[in-house]
Point group: C2
C-alpha cells in the first residue's frame, strides 16, 4: 500500500449565492485547491476525480460529477460521483485515497458541492428528509432536526447532558467561524443567544442547528511517488476509515451513539497507528449540536456519556488541548451537503500548512476529519499527518 | 498493484415487478451472487461495498447504498453509493477493483439496482432525461431516445449506415435474450418486426430502444491473497478503465463516436495487456441499437464507420468469432439503470465459468464489459480473464 498525500485544498465561500451555479461554485473551489499547492500545480496532472453531492433539486441528476469536472477543463478525466448523503465528499476523499493506493492513479481530485438555498422551504424539508430514512422517517413526518432532537433527548435522559452544554457547542463554533472568512454565519453568539433562540425541534433551538448552504470544496490527493513535485512539507493521509449502519435511527439499538462513526474512527486510527490522544485538532460533523457531542464519544475524545463535561471543560476550544471545529464547523461555517466532507479537509490542510490565520492552532502534527451521512447511515474519518522532517 | 478476481456474480430477473421493492430485488441479486461462488461464500468476509443506482423517483435518495446493504445483513460494512447515470454499477465494479488493489479490502461487494416501472410515464421521461444533460437537452425538450437518434442520423449520414443494420442489432440481441431466463423481453424478433415497429425518435423504432426495467445485480471481487479460498478456476479482472466527457451530446465535436468509451477501453486494454482481437465475447452498452454500433468502433472491434458492416457480417452473433451481448443486452435482457453494469459482469462470470447454458460461447478466456453513462458523459470497461491452469 503506497502512501497518499494531501497536496492542496480549497473551497468557495459558504452561504446563499443566488448569482452562482453549482458549476461556478465548484470552479471556485477547484481553482482555490490548485492555487493552494505549495510548489505549483498543473491540472493536467489529474488522473481521476471523485465528486460528492446529494444533488437533489432539479439540477443535473445523473452524471453530476462529470458535469462539474468538464466545467473546470477536466472533461477527459475519469470522474465518478460518490454519494452517502451529508458524507458524500468525505467519501470522495476516501475514494481518492483508495485510487492512489491502488496504483491506478497518481494525482486525484476529490471534491463536492451543493446548492440548497434556491429550493423552496417545502423542497428543502423534503430534501433533508431524504438524508435520513425515507419510508419510515420522512414519510411519517419526521424532519431531520427531529431525528437529531431524539438523539439529544435520549442523551440528556441517559447521561444528564444539558441544554446549556448543547449551547456551548454553538458558542464555541461561532467563535471559531467568526474568524473564518468563508463562513456563512461568521459571527459570534452568546450562550444566552443559543439558549433563548426559537425551538426548532425540542430540545434543539435554532442555534443548535446548522444552516442551509450553497458551497463547494476540493482537495488534491497525490501518491508518494509524485508528492515531492508538489510540496516540501508533505501532509500524509495517515489513516482513512469508513463505517455504515442502518439508515433509520429507529432501526438502531441505541439513540445515544453513532456506531458508523465509531467503526470509521477505529479503522482510521488503526491505519494511522495513532489514537485520539495524538490529535492536535479535529473537524467533526456538527450538523446539530448533539452531533458534535456524540462525535466526542464515538471518536474516543472522551468516555461514553462524558461529552457534556468535555465541551464544558473548554478543552475543545481553539486554545484547548484538542481544538474541535476551528473552521466554525457545520454550525457556523455552513453545511452545503455534498461539499462538507471535503470542506473539513480544507480546514485540515490550512491548519497543517500553518495557513489558518486567526484560527491557527499551535504547530499541529495530527488532524482528524469526521463526516457523517444522514443520522449515521454512513461515516468516514481521515487522519492527516504533517510529516516532520528530521 | 495486487490482482483482483471476480469470484461470484448474480442478478434478479429483469422486468416489471410491482410486488418487489428495490431492497427485495437487491437481496435476490445478492443471494444469487453468494450462491454462485464455486467453493462457497460466507458474507461475513465482505470488507466493503459499492452500490450503483441513479435512484430518482421518490424512494430513498441519500444513502441508498447503505439502505440495501443493511437489508442483506451487511449493516456494519462500509458502503458507498456510486453514480454515473446508466454506468452506475459499472463504476461500482471499478471501485471494488480499486479497493482490492489499494490493499484496504480483500473481498468487496459491487452491485446496483433500479426500480423504474412504477414511475408515471411523465416521470420516466423526466428521469431518463436527467441521464443526459439537464439544462440544455432535457429542458429544451430533447428525450434520451432523441439524443441517440441524433447519433444514429449522423452515423447514417457520415458512413452510410442503414436502418436495417440498426435492426440487425435488435434481431441478434433478442435471439440471445430468448435464451436468457432473466431477460425482460426474452423473445425473438425478426428483421421485419424491427423495421416496421413504430418510430420512437426517427430513425429509431421501438425495437431500436431498450425497455424500462426493474432489476438488480451483484458481483463479488476478491484479492489475489484470498481468491484460492473461493474458487479453483479464478477469473482475473485483467483490466479496468474509465473515461469521462462532456455530459451533453451538443458539447462534443462529433456525434458519431463516444470518446469516453474509447478512453475507457484504451485504459482497460493497456492494464490487461490485451486488445480487441484477444476477446472471446463482449457485453456492450446497447441502450439504443446505434449505441452497440458505436461501441464496436469505440472499443476497436472494427474501424471507424465499419460497424454497420460488422453487424451484417454475423461476426458478433453468438456463433461468430466475437459474440456481443450474449445476455440479450440492454435491448432484450433489459436496462434497470443502476443494475446494468453489474448485470453485464454477471454474464461475463457465467460465460467464463461455463455456466451460460444455451448462450454459452465456446471455451472463452477473455471477456469484456462496457457500460456507458448518459450519452457518453462517462464510460467504464472491464476485461476479465479466465486463468487457464497449465
Amino acid at each position: 500500500m503506497r502512501d497518499a498525500y494531501l497536496i492542496g485544498a480549497g473551497q468557495s465561500a459558504y452561504g446563499a449565492f443566488p448569482d452562482e451555479s453549482y458549476r461556478s461554485l465548484f470552479r471556485t473551489a477547484f481553482e482555490a485547491a490548485v492555487e493552494s499547492v505549495p510548489a505549483g500545480f498543473d491540472p493536467d496532472a489529474i488522473d481521476e476525480a471523485f465528486v460528492g453531492t446529494l444533488g437533489v433539486g432539479g439540477r443535473q441528476l445523473g452524471l453530476s460529477g462529470p458535469a462539474v469536472t468538464e466545467h473546470v477543463g477536466l472533461g477527459g478525466v475519469p470522474c465518478t460521483r460518490v454519494e452517502n448523503a451529508c458524507a458524500a465528499s468525505g467519501f470522495s476523499i476516501r475514494q481518492a485515497v483508495q485510487a492512489v493506493k491502488s496504483g491506478m492513479a497518481d494525482v486525484v481530485l476529490a471534491g463536492g458541492f451543493e446548492v440548497m438555498t434556491d429550493a423552496s422551504s417545502d423542497a428543502t424539508k423534503y430534501w433533508l428528509g431524504v438524508s435520513g430514512e425515507t419510508e419510515w422517517e420522512r414519510l411519517s413526518g419526521t424532519t431531520f432536526s427531529g431525528v437529531y432532537a431524539q438523539m439529544a433527548s435520549a442523551h440528556m435522559e441517559r447521561y444528564g447532558t444539558t441544554r446549556e452544554q448543547l449551547s456551548r457547542v454553538a458558542v464555541k463554533n461561532h467563535e471559531n467561524g467568526a474568524r473564518n472568512p468563508k463562513a456563512q454565519l461568521g459571527f459570534e453568539c452568546t450562550l444566552e443567544d443559543a439558549q433563548s433562540a426559537p425551538v426548532v425541534a425540542d430540545p434543539l433551538t435554532l442555534y443548535h442547528c446548522c444552516p442551509t448552504s450553497d458551497g463547494a470544496a476540493c482537495a488534491l490527493i497525490a501518491s508518494e511517488d509524485v508528492v515531492e513535485s508538489y510540496t516540501d512539507d508533505p501532509i500524509r493521509v495517515a489513516g482513512v476509515g469508513a463505517g455504515s449502519d442502518a439508515v433509520g435511527l429507529f432501526q438502531r439499538e441505541s439513540y445515544t451513539e453513532i456506531p458508523a462513526s465509531r467503526r470509521a474512527a477505529e479503522a482510521a486510527y488503526e491505519m494511522a497507528g495513532v489514537g485520539p490522544d495524538d490529535l492536535d485538532f479535529a473537524e467533526v460533523h456538527d450538523c446539530f449540536a448533539i452531533a458534535e457531542l456524540l462525535a466526542y464519544e464515538d471518536l474516543g475524545f472522551c468516555e461514553r456519556g462524558e461529552s457534556g463535561d468535555l465541551i464544558e471543560s473548554g478543552r475543545t476550544e481553539r486554545d484547548g488541548d484538542l481544538p474541535v471545529n476551528t473552521s466554525g464547523g457545520l454550525k457556523s461555517k455552513g453545511h452545503p451537503i455534498g461539499a462538507t466532507g471535503a470542506g473539513q479537509v480544507v480546514e485540515a490542510f490550512a491548519q497543517l500548512s500553518g495557513e489558518a490565520g486567526d484560527r491557527q492552532v499551535d504547530d499541529p502534527v495530527y488532524g482528524l476529519t469526521h463526516n457523517v451521512g444522514g443520522s449515521g447511515g454512513a461515516a468516514v474519518v481521515c487522519v492527516f499527518e504533517r510529516e516532520v522532517m528530521v
